[in-house]
C-alpha cells in the first residue's frame, strides 16, 4: 500500500543498528543530512537542556518506522518541540492506539505530520474523545475516523467544548452528522462557528429548520459557510462589509460573555 523511499528504508535499518543516544552522529547515521541533524539536535537541547541530552532516538525510530522521512520529521519536531520530551516507548504506544482506532496507512502519517501534538496526548484521553464522538454525538465509526483524520485537534479539546460545538450545529443550526463531517466542523472554534452562523441568521440568510426539518429559505451548506475565506464568506453568503463583521464579532463575543455559557445536559432523540 505505501511505498517507502529508498532513503527511509536505509534510515530504518540504520536506526535499528545504532545505539539509542541522541547525538549528531546517530542522526546522520539515521539518514538525516547535516543541516537536518543540526536542527533536530539543537531543538532537543533547547528543550531538554544541554546536559540532559541523554534522550534516546526511539521516538525518531518510531516515526521513521511509519515511513516518514527525515525532512518530515524535522518539520514535526519543529511544530511540536514537546515531542522531544516524550519517551519513545510511550510515543510508540500512542501510534499503536491510532492504528487501533482505525486510522489507515496514509491517514496516520498525515495526522501526525499535520498535528504532531496528538503524540503528546495520553491514549486514554484520545480514546475518551473518540468515545464521546461515537456515543454522545452518534457519529458512525467511519465518520469518527474521518473526524480524527481531518481534525485531530478534537483529541485535545475539552469535552464540554466539543459537546457545545456539536449541540450548536445539531440543534441550533439543524445540521446532521454527515454534513458536520464534510464541513470539518471540529476544526473551527466555537466563537467562529457562532459568529459566522449568527451573522448570517440575523441578516436573514439562515434559518433553524423546524421540527419537520423545513425552512422558508434555502440555507447555505455548513461546509461552505465554514471553509470560505472571510472575503468569500462576506461577499457570497453574508453580503456584508468587513467593518460590519468586525463589529458583529465583538458584539457576539460580549453577548456570550454576558449570557454565560449556561448549557444544561442534553441528549439526542
Amino acid at each position: 500500500m505505501c511505498s517507502h523511499t529508498q532513503e527511509s528504508q536505509t534510515s530504518r535499518a540504520s536506526a535499528q543498528r545504532h545505539g539509542s543516544e541522541l547525538s549528531l552522529r546517530t542522526l546522520l547515521d539515521m539518514g538525516f543530512t547535516e543541516t537536518q541533524a543540526d536542527q533536530v539536535y539543537e531543538g532537543a537541547t533547547k528543550i531538554l537542556g544541554r546536559k540532559s541530552v541523554t534522550h534516546d532516538t526511539s521516538t525518531i525510530t518510531a516515526l521513521l518506522a511509519l515511513g516518514l522521512n527525515a525532512s518530515s520529521i524535522v518539520k514535526i519536531f519543529d511544530k511540536c518541540p514537546a515531542l522531544y520530551t516524550e519517551k519513545g516507548a510511550v510515543v510508540q504506544q500512542r501510534i499503536q492506539n491510532l492504528w487501533k482506532l482505525g486510522l489507515v496507512e496514509g491517514s496516520i502519517q498525515r495526522v501526525i505530520s499535520y498535528h504532531p501534538h496528538i503524540l503528546t496526548i495520553p491514549a486514554k484521553r484520545v480514546n475518551a474523545a473518540v468515545q464521546f464522538i461515537r456515543t454522545k454525538c452518534l457519529f458512525t465509526a467511519q465518520q469518527m475516523r474521518e473526524i480524527l483524520r481531518d481534525s485531530p485537534e478534537v483529541a485535545e479539546e475539552d469535552l464540554n467544548e466539543l459537546e457545545h460545538k456539536f449541540q450548536y450545529a445539531y440543534f441550533r443550526m439543524g445540521v446532521k452528522q454527515a454534513e458536520m463531517v464534510k464541513a470539518k466542523l471540529f476544526k473551527v472554534s466555537m466563537e467562529e462557528l457562532r459568529c459566522r452562523h449568527c451573522f448570517l441568521e440575523r441578516r436573514g440568510f439562515y434559518q433553524t429548520p423546524d421540527k419537520k426539518g423545513q425552512t422558508l429559505i434555502i440555507n447555505p451548506k455548513l461546509k461552505d459557510i465554514l471553509s470560505a475565506t472571510e472575503d468569500i464568506y462576506l461577499s457570497q453568503f453574508a453580503k456584508a462589509t468587513k467593518e460590519e463583521l468586525d463589529v458583529f464579532r465583538k458584539l457576539v463575543a460580549r453577548e456570550d460573555e454576558e449570557k454565560g455559557n449556561t448549557l444544561e445536559h442534553w441528549d439526542i432523540e
Binding site: Q167, R172, R203, A240, E244, E264
Partner: protein, 368 residues
Amino acid sequence: MATQRLWNSMAAQGVLHNKNFDAMYSMQLGELWPSVRVSLLSERKYGALVNNFSCGDPVTDLQSLGCRDFIASSSTAADPFSPPYSGSHQFYQHIVNEGTGIDLARTFISPNVKCLVFPKGDTSRFKPARLDSAGLLTYYLMDAASVLPVLALNVQKEESVLDLCAAPGGKTLALLQTQAVRFIWANDWSGSRMSRLQRTLNSCLPHDLLSEDKLCITSFDGREWHELGGNTFDKVLVDVPCTTDRHSLIEEDNNIFSRSRTKEKRNLPLCQTQLLLTGLQAVRKGGEVMYSTCTLSQLQNQCVVEQAISLANQELGITAEIVDLQPFTTLFKDTFHFAPDLNVGAMVLPHLTANFGPIYFCKLRRLS
C-alpha cells in the same frame, strides 16, 4: 428534551419569527435590509445628551474615553461633496444649486445641544450618568439619532414649543437643552408614561425651569388637543407612537404583528395622521412641525405625512409644505447612516458600525 427547548429559546433571541417583517422591509429597503436587520437584532448604541443645567462637566471625561460630540464635529461646509451614499447625482446638483444649503442648515442648529457618541465601529458602552452636587444628572442616555428631529426643528430664541407625545421625555429634554425655548407644553396621553417624563425632567432640570410659566405638563389625547386652541406655537414636535421595530422583531408575544394586536396596528397610521393634523393646527402660520417615528415602515412615515398634508388642506384649509432636510442630514452623514433616495423626510437606518435608529423625521412648514 430540555436541551432542544433551550436551544430553541436561544434561537428565538436571534431569529425573526415574523415573516411579515422580512417581506415588508426587504421590499422597501431592498439590498439595505440585511444590514438593517442584523443591526435591529444586535446591541444598539446610545448617545450621551449633555445636561447643560448640571454643574458637572462630563465632556472631558467622556472625551478621554474616546467619545466626541457629533453635533459640534458635524461635517463642515468645506466638505459638501463627499457622498452620503454613492450614486445620488441629483443630490449634488441640488447642493450646487442651493449653494449655501449646508451653511444655512448649520447656522440654524443650536450651539447648545451637545451629544457625545463613541466613534463608528466602537462598541464601548456609557456608564450610567453621575449626579452633580445639586443632584442633577450630568448627562442623559438616549438614542443619538433621536436628537436629530429636535435639532432639525431649529428652535430659535424665545420660541414656544408643543411636544405633543412627550413621554418619557428624551426629546423634551433635548429641546430644553437648546436654552432657547421660552415656553414648552409637554403632553402625553399615557398617565404612567407621563410620570416617567416628570422623573426625567426632575432629574435633569433645576426647579426654576420647571415653573408653570415655562413648562406645562398635561395628559390629553393628542387627537383631541386642538380643541384647546390652535395657531399659537412656533414649533411643534409630533413624536408619534409606532411599531418599535427593535422590540417587535424579537418579542413575539408582545409583537404588534401578533393577532391580538392587529387592530391596534391597523389603527396606528390613522392615529398618527390625526396627531400630525393636531400639530398642524397648533402651529402658527410660518411655524414648523416635526413629525417623527422610530419605525422603518413607510406606511407610518411617508404615507402618514402625505395623508396629513392633503387632509389638512381639504378639511381644515391649512396648507403646509415639506421642508427639504438634505442639507441638514448631510451635516451628520459621518455619524449616521441615512436612507438614500427618500423624497419625503429623512431616515436614520441602523447599521452595525453606527447602530442608532431607526428614526424617521419629516419637517412641515405651515403656510396658511
